[in-house]
């Protein structure tokens, strides 16, 4: 078949070119994940606050970012922000856009994890004279971490896959190179299948890890 002929002749060139986008894919995914892990926690704590003035903006944030497509958010940041005087590079726009988007999802994961911890834990910590912040930091969060780890890991898979979208704002990741290669050689069949295989090499092992975390969590409970 023609497919395998092309794969044999050009496969190596395609693979090397596609791998050129791999560092950017990892950079965007890792950068956005770190951003979301930190900012998501801030949003979650605001969401759980006793004060409405904190809670309502957090709810609005979560609902907006979970209710609109990532693609639109990226476009607003990359094409829209220059109107307001900021000109982010594609990489910055990708990390900030995916990070802001991921924060909304992680905030909900954090919230579910924190709310799953029995109230008595907080009350006991407070009655021992801890401040609410200390109780959260030393008592609630470490325990919640155990239930949150599997969903956080599986969300990081989603993030890794979502990086394929940031090629639309010209961040030079795997799909960006794939599209360039197709324009150059017209071999869309081989190139897109190879790009797909590259993503699977990253996501399938991670999915295995999630399944293992889930099992060990269940065993622990």
């Amino acid at each position: 078949m023609r497919f395998f002929e092309v794969l044999g002749q050009k496969g190596e060139y395609f693979l090397i070119t596609l791998l050129g986008g791999w560092p950017t894919t990892v950079k965007v995914a890792a950068g956005a994940l770190v951003f979301a892990l930190i900012f998501g926690l801030v949003i979650a704590l605001l969401r759980l606050s006793r004060w409405r003035a904190f809670r309502i903006p957090a709810i609005a944030y979560i609902e907006f970012f979970r209710g609109t497509p990532l693609l639109v958010q990226l476009f607003v940041i990359y094409f829209g922000l220059p109107d307001a005087g900021f000109e982010p590079t594609p990489l910055q726009a990708a990390i900030v856009g995916m990070g802001l988007n991921g924060s909304a999802y992680l905030a909900e994961i954090y919230r579910a994890g924190i709310e799953a911890i029995h109230r008595g834990q907080m009350e006991a910590a407070l009655s021992l004279g801890m401040t609410p912040a200390r109780a959260m930091r030393y008592i609630i969060l470490p325990q919640a971490m155990r239930t949150m780890l599997p969903p956080i890991t599986s969300f990081s898979i989603v993030m890794l896959k979502d990086t394929a979208v940031v090629s639309v704002i010209a961040a030079p990741e795997i799909m960006f190179y794939a599209r360039n290669l197709v324009t150059e050689t017209l071999q869309s069949a081989v190139i897109y299948c190879m790009a797909g295989a590259l993503y699977l090499c990253m996501t399938v092992p991670m999915a295995r890890l999630v399944a293992r975390l889930e099992r060990s969590r269940r065993a622990w409970q």
Binding site: F3, G67, P69, L71, D83, V165, S167, C193
Partner: protein, 227 residues
């Protein structure tokens, strides 16, 4: 930034009706892809819970691949690869709409397969055994005993999937599907107003997905009652 209200005051009466006219396309993609995903997902879930080794393996591979690939990549593979593999066949019917629906359907099928499987497996095996001991065939037991009970378990995650799907239709603009996002792009760049137009598009997506997410939350609260 400060000019946004002014920009809207001048243009919204042209932009909004035009964008809204593409809502129908977006909803149609989502609806057909959803139906396809339910059919594929149900078939894959039944294969995975079946006793046949081959069916189980095929379904497991499908689920891994369908969930492991980014939607963008699936859309590109579905839309650009088959015509190149079989250039002899006639591809006239294979437009961006068909490609979008099949691509989203393949992705959704893999997600729903896992949802359905966990729904089926969550039921106590005694249910099936009782149905069989009453003389039902395995197929009848599945159709009348297992699935109706599993529906209750899977409805909330299915609703969540539907919300995700609605937003994912925006990705179909990448394979040239002329839907809401694509139209927003063409207005934004033709009028040099990316901020205003994309924020408007975001608002329209939000107006579609938010009611759905309220329904999903309601379902979750209702159906978890009593368990």
């Amino acid at each position: 930034m400060l000019e946004l209200p002014k920009v809207y005051a001048e243009h919204i009466h042209i932009w909004l009706p035009e964008l809204l006219s593409y809502v129908e396309t977006t909803l149609r993609i989502a609806a057909v892809a959803f139906a396809l995903a339910v059919v594929i997902g149900l078939a894959a879930a039944l294969c995975r819970t079946s006793r046949s080794r081959i069916l189980k393996t095929i379904a497991a591979i499908y689920v891994e691949v369908g969930r492991g690939l980014p939607i963008v990549v699936i859309l590109y593979i579905v839309y650009f690869v088959p015509p190149q593999l079989f250039p002899g066949a006639s591809w006239g019917w294979f437009n961006a709409f068909v490609g979008s629906v099949i691509g989203l359907g393949i992705h959704g099928g893999a997600i729903l397969a896992e949802v359905f499987r966990s729904g089926i497996e969550a039921l106590h095996s005694g249910q099936r055994e009782a149905a069989l001991s009453l003389g039902m065939t395995p197929a009848k037991a599945m159709a009348y005993i297992i699935l109706p009970q599993a529906v209750r378990i899977v409805l909330p995650p299915v609703a969540n999937y539907a919300i995700g799907l609605l937003k994912d239709t925006a990705l179909c603009s990448l394979i040239g599907m002329n839907e809401l996002m694509n139209d927003a792009k063409s207005i934004a760049f033709a009028e040099y107003q990316p901020m205003a137009v994309f924020v408007l598009a975001a608002a329209i997506y939000f107006a579609m997905s938010y009611p759905l997410s309220l329904v999903a939350r309601h379902l979750e609260a209702r159906l978890s009652f009593g368990r």
